[in-house]
């Protein structure tokens, strides 16, 4: 309990520090919001008036207080690029990104576990070599390269899946899944590779234990020994690590969503960075960092529940 309270206190402190870092980072951007709003229409007088109106001449501490105060009340400001309240933009885009992140997690787990199990069962034989090769390729190739290969194969050559865009599940559920599938696979491949290696290692460890020998001695079929006894014991750490990567996946969405023109949080962040849309950058960078940190905390807590040997007190 003390550990939990400590972690929550630390979480609040780190969120505060994240907001400060984000604010400082975006405030050293050359030019300011007023010049960006006025664009080519602006002259020094009108820009100065707008700066005054927006409070850009106030000390940084005051500006930070105003930003964080607004954020706590759900007012994230207005995007300069999209001319829309950032709060509503964030809602839509988080849902879009959530979909590909969850989908990629499912794809990674469902493909990594069989790969890892086969590699462990056929250790040092060709299925093991193939599985290890797939894992190494997944780790070594950048996700945007996989994205290009996937577009080439499934969209341009086979014509099965769309290569870009986002469709809301509320409009057309299946079409939205079809649009999310290629970005989700590109995002999940490196995670799949890591998980396959982990599953192999965990399975090898479990299969060398005495209880597996007992299962075999009892005359259980090999399938039952592997799937019901070995895998069940090997899977917990694999799933936990998969959860731990949720935040990492949120970090990788910028590149993947930009490649697939999938209008989620990553795409929104990229648009903010490209257009120097300061309020949008502040909001998206803060949200991604907060999600990244929260997912790590949740996995830490799940870990203590899953494995009673771990105590942080």
């Amino acid at each position: 309990m003390r550990y939990l309270l400590n972690r929550i206190a630390l979480l609040a402190l780190t969120l505060l520090l994240i907001s400060i870092v984000t604010f400082i980072l975006t405030n050293i951007l050359p030019g300011n919001v007023a010049t960006m709003i006025m664009g080519t229409r602006g002259n020094p007088v009108s820009i100065a008036a707008l700066e005054q109106e927006l409070g850009l001449n106030d000390p940084l501490v005051v500006q930070y207080g105003r930003w964080i105060g607004g954020m706590l009340q759900g007012d994230w400001g207005t995007s300069l690029r999209f001319k829309e309240p950032i709060g509503s933009l964030l809602g839509q885009k988080m849902a879009a990104s959530g979909m590909i992140v969850v989908l990629s997690l499912i794809i990674a787990i469902l493909s990594a576990i069989p790969l890892g199990v086969i590699a462990a069962v056929k250790q040092n034989r060709w299925p093991d070599t193939v599985s290890s090769g797939v894992a190494l390729a997944g780790i070594s190739l950048p996700d945007f390269f996989w994205g290009i290969v996937l577009i080439l194969l499934f969209s341009r050559t086979l014509g099965w899946l769309p290569s870009s865009g986002f469709v809301s599940p509320a409009d057309d559920f299946w079409l939205s899944i079809k649009h999310a599938l290629l970005p989700a696979i590109a995002l999940g491949l490196s995670l799949m590779a890591h998980l396959a290696r982990m599953t192999r290692s965990a399975m090898l460890e479990v299969m060398s234990q005495d209880f597996i020998r007992v299962c075999r001695a009892k005359g259980l079929s090999e399938g039952s020994v592997i799937l019901r006894h070995a895998l069940q014991n090997a899977i917990a750490p694999v799933v936990t690590v998969a959860g731990l990567q949720l935040g990492y996946l949120f970090g990788s969405i910028i590149v993947v969503e930009s490649l697939f023109n999938y209008t989620g949080m990553g795409w929104l962040t990229y648009q903010g960075l490209l257009n120097r849309d300061v309020p949008l950058i502040q909001a998206t960078v803060f949200i991604i960092a907060a999600v990244f940190m929260l997912s790590n905390l949740i996995v830490d807590l799940i870990y203590t529940v899953l494995d009673p040997r771990i105590s942080f007190d």
């Binding site: 630390l10 402190l13 780190t14 520090l17 994240i18 870092v21 980072l25 975006t26 050293i28 951007l29 050359p30 190494l136 390729a137 780790i139 070594s140 190739l141 950048p142 945007f144 390269f145 290009i148 290969v149 577009i151 080439l152 341009r156 290696r197 982990m198 192999r200 290692s201 965990a202 750490p237 935040g247 990492y248 949120f250 970090g251 990788s252 910028i254 590149v255 930009s258 490649l259 962040t269 990229y270 960075l273 490209l274 120097r276 950058i281 960078v285 991604i288 960092a289 907060a290 990244f292 940190m293």
Partner: protein, 300 residues
Amino acid sequence: MTTAQLVTPAAPSEASRNAQRTRKRIANALLNTKGLIGLTLVIVFTLMAILAPIFVPEALSTKIDVTARLSPPTAAHLLGTDQLGRDLLFRVLLGAHTSMIIAVVAVGLSIALGLPLGVLSGYFKGWVDLGLSRLVDTLLSFPAILLALAISAVLGPNLRNTVLAIGIAFAPYLARIVRGETLKVTSLPYIEAARSQGASDMRIIRKYVLPNIMAPVIVQATISIAFAILAEAGLSFLGLGTQPPTPSWGLMIQASRDYLDVAPWTALVPGLAVALAVLGLNMLGDVLRDVLDPTFNSDR
């Protein structure tokens, strides 16, 4: 990012014997298949990075030849040409120079920033540790690529700023590893012994702490170079890294996007270059970690 842990550091009296043993273990490990492939790839790409600018005049990689646009691999252009008729082989060779230089310098910068932060935090503990750890934890809350992108956008995209962005984004990972290792080392009796002999903090850090935490730093640096190559390619792919006409693998992949149907080799050639360089560094990093940290299981 992968983290590495270190073996129990050696007492100074055993240091030379241990160093000898470690050198022997590294030599043996590098001679196994994985070590050999990793080392070979790393040597090949390092040589490419060093020799390419000497043997390939930049003019050759930027020479536009509209008559040979999107040519598949032929005798005249061994790896084909891009949308402007530029030779992909020359561009990949010079791209190796760009990628490796950026990656190595950025990782050097992350060591220069992360090492002192981690050592100070782990050695002095208390308030220093609390303050520095909060700073490091805060920076670790930003996914490295997001931090690098934000820094690059703030500073403006160019070669120097790409190095700065990647170096700063990777520094907290190194600081965290160094802090952990420093904490372990400082709890050992020989540090107590040095202290009781009146050695100053600076001397203890220089003579006893730093030499005993270098192994995980080397392992992490090797793996970080692989991640830095990926990060550089990612930043350049998004237009926030190396800028044209400088040849960069990420830029080459980005430029290939519109020609995938007709000239898939324009994406595959730089993509494979990234993959092989990263693969080599990962394999070498794995082997080094197995030798320098027998307690660490790279798959877990």
